[in-house]
């Protein structure tokens, strides 16, 4: 169903790390979703979604790529704003989105007796969204989130990715071989000897 682990290590840092993450996902973000977010101008001004749907969309984006320790809510809000802008520009996208969000809520009511944003357990929210993952509106939101996070030069440093290097003369003097937990590679002399032997 999801990512293929060949073997999965024991969760490092034990339950403390996990708990912090669970805490953030179930409380902080959920809280933000319904409080701070709704005050944000970009959402209030959306011509496509009402406030509740805006909250659902933001929650959905967070559930698609949850990075509570790495990203700020503002990162997710920016993605939600892009989704809304795209919807404003295209009627079919707009109706696909509003209809999709409505069906997510309906399914949440059916399974849990609450709207989607009211579900506290992140696994339950993810499981709910899995029902919709093959649909166009979902993948539209998902790829917008993908580009907004993983192809976003401002976000890259938060994941330890440094990107383009040609303007800095490459990584040759910027740590391409600087780790210390494994031995160094062969010296130039050794590499010369290897090809001349």
């Amino acid at each position: 169903m999801t990512i293929r682990f060949h073997r999965r290590g024991k969760e490092k840092g034990g339950s403390a790390a996990m708990n912090r993450r669970m805490f953030l996902m179930t409380t902080t973000l959920a809280g933000v979703t319904t409080n701070a977010m709704l005050g944000s101008a970009s959402f209030a001004s959306s011509a496509v979604l009402d406030e509740a749907q805006g909250a659902s969309l933001l929650r959905m984006i967070q559930d698609i790529y949850p990075h509570p320790d790495v990203l700020q809510v503002s990162h997710y809000e920016a993605i939600a704003a892009t989704v809304m802008k795209n919807a404003e520009a295209d009627a079919a996208t707009a109706s696909g989105l509003t209809d999709g969000l409505a069906r997510i809520d309906a399914k949440a009511q059916e399974l849990f007796g609450t709207p989607y944003t009211g579900i506290e357990d992140p696994d339950a929210r993810e499981g709910l969204l899995r029902h919709f993952q093959d649909e166009g509106f979902f993948q539209g939101v998902r790829w917008t989130a993908y580009f907004g996070i993983y192809d976003n030069k401002e976000v890259w440093p938060l994941f330890g990715y440094e990107g383009s290097s040609v303007e800095h003369g490459g990584y040759i003097d910027r740590g391409f071989s600087d780790i210390t937990f494994v031995p160094e590679g062969p010296t130039l002399e050794e590499r010369m000897a290897d090809v001349q032997a």
């Binding site: 990512i3 024991k10 993983y150």
Partner: protein, 525 residues
């Protein structure tokens, strides 16, 4: 720049400007043989290269309509992208990573070595390693491959490869090196040494890596014997009443059609487009397509038996710093039926940037959620390999023409079908387990298996065979059916071997150029 007349029927027309076509063009030009290279894509130069995965994908990839078929996961997850190749001046040698390995002797003789395999169409090449060795040396000198032929040392080891190498050492392996790569480790041939920029597969912005874009093609043009016409998409190859090919019809960027006469035609459009061109050139005399009396045109499509393995290490690795394929493990390249499969495989360290890692860790609609996001938070502690092994020829793996749908040129859209053989399943299981053990020996916590990416190595769809009933071309890439029609790219491969194909494509192109010049001089073609 030289221009040849459309009515000049003394030229060799080469279709495609990548590894096969670009090399052939320069070799012929150096011998004084006149050629016109028709290239479907645009003209690129070093200033087009950006250190950006998606930007380069958008800029240079072949994105014309194409479908994935068959039983591989890509038919669902990459339905319109069976292969990742370049459309442009230089072909896929802009993207390629530079790994330049030779076939092993047994890999030319798979039928003799493996015997008959159920469901597969395994055959021996009409040439062997002894015959190819001098041509491999010529190719290595031309491309600037680190190693004994050039005397250039292999590249320095980057972080990602050091982790892999240490895992290899701890698991008793010995054949792990940072080469052979067609990347300058020192200044050579007017090109600089590698500056560990990374992004090799987005094109090397300084030209340290060999590419026909800034080596073979400009050198061919400089002789005055070669004209490269870009934005020239070949629609069909024509022949005379005697069954000899005599012209090539192509469309320019405005869609206007032109007809270039030819004395010899060489097809080098990569293994999907090359058979597609032959099939699209069917005529009353050749109703099944040109050079297809064997019925093997388009069949036996091979890429490689592949997957990715990424491991999370206890400390930071920063795998993206430096050469994308920074090292190669060759310990598993042998044939031993007791492993449960035929043929062997390589492990090649391969860094992916965060964008590609996030797209390929779990491709398709399911690739989101907490486990994917959690894994990506370990990005800077990852090291990984691309595993690639021999893919057996199967008739059902084929390039076929769509029955009703056409592309922007009005040509039927190609459908690329690939269904793994049992051999592939056995081999990939072995590859994943070996890679996991190597990484666990250096303390990997999590190990992820990535399924095959869209194919970058395409082979076999106009295969070589001594017997005209079993293959499309002879040992020189000359079609069995039409003396002055040649195949000059990876589509002539009889077997895929475990190694990356380009060095062999280049070696065959150099050898073919000798043969074509000789046969033209002798007035045989």
């Amino acid at each position: 720049m030289t221009k040849f007349d459309l009515n000049d029927d003394n030229v060799v027309v080469i279709i495609g400007s990548g590894a096969g076509g670009g090399t052939l063009a320069n070799e012929l030009a150096q011998k004084g043989v006149k050629s016109v290279v028709l290239e479907a894509g645009k003209r690129f130069d070093l200033s087009d290269i950006e250190n950006d995965e998606w930007a380069m994908f958008q800029k240079i990839s072949w994105l014309d309509k194409r479908y994935s078929g068959g039983g591989w996961h890509g038919a669902v997850n990459h339905p319109t992208l069976p292969a990742w190749i370049v459309k442009g001046y230089g072909g896929s040698t802009i993207h390629w990573a530079g790994v330049a390995l030779r076939f092993k002797d047994f890999e030319f003789k798979t039928r003799s070595t493996y015997g008959e395999i159920d469901g597969a169409n395994v055959e021996d090449w009409p040439i062997d390693l002894a015959e190819m060795t001098p041509w491999y040396e010529k190719a290595e000198l031309k491309m600037g491959v680190t190693g004994r032929t050039t005397g250039m040392p292999h590249l320095p080891w980057n972080n990602g490869f050091r982790v892999l190498a240490e895992g290899c050492r701890r698991t008793g392996r010995s054949d792990y090196r940072s080469g052979p790569m067609a990347i300058n480790s020192v200044e050579r041939d007017g090109r600089p040494a590698c500056q560990q920029i990374g992004f090799c597969m987005q094109g090397c912005a300084i030209g340290a890596k060999w590419s026909t874009m800034y080596t073979e093609l400009p050198r061919a043009e400089d002789t005055g014997n070669c004209e490269v016409r870009t934005d020239a998409m070949v629609l069909r190859i024509e022949h005379d009443d005697a069954g000899k090919v005599n012209a090539v019809v192509y469309a320019d960027s405005e869609g206007n059609q032109h007809r270039q006469k030819a004395r010899v035609v060489c097809v080098a459009g990569n293994s999907i487009e090359s058979p597609r061109m032959l099939l699209n050139s069917a005529s009353a005399m050749f109703p099944d397509g040109l050079a297809n009396s064997s019925g093997q045109v388009g069949k036996n499509y091979m890429n490689h038996t592949t997957g990715g393995v990424y491991a999370v290490l206890p400390e930071k690795v920063h795998m993206h710093r430096g050469t994308s394929v920074a090292g190669i493990v060759g310990d598993e390249v042998y044939h031993d039926a007791s492993r449960g499969f035929s043929g062997g495989y390589y492990l090649e360290f391969l860094s992916l940037g965060l964008p590609f890692m996030a797209a390929f860790l779990e491709p398709g609609n399911t690739g989101w959620g907490r486990s994917v996001a959690g894994a990506l938070e370990n990005y800077d502690r990852m090291s990984g390999v691309w595993v690639l092994g021999e893919d057996l020829a199967q008739e059902r793996n084929a390039i076929t023409l769509h029955g009703s749908e056409t592309d922007q040129y009005g040509l039927p859209v190609p459908v690329v079908s690939k269904t793994p053989h049992n051999n592939d399943y056995e081999m990939t299981a072995h590859m994943y387990e070996t890679s996991a053990q190597i990484y666990e020996a250096v303390g990997a916590t999590d190990v992820y298996e990535l399924p095959a990416y869209p194919a970058t190595h395409n082979m076999g769809t106009n295969r070589m065979h001594a017997d005209p009933a079993k293959g499309v071309v002879n040992a020189y890439g000359q079609t069995h059916d039409i003396d002055n029609l040649f195949v000059s790219d990876g589509s002539q491969f009889t077997s895929s071997a475990a190694c990356n194909p380009t060095l062999t494509i280049v070696a065959l192109a150099i050898r073919q150029a000798e043969y074509i010049a000789q046969e033209m001089n002798a007035q045989n073609i």
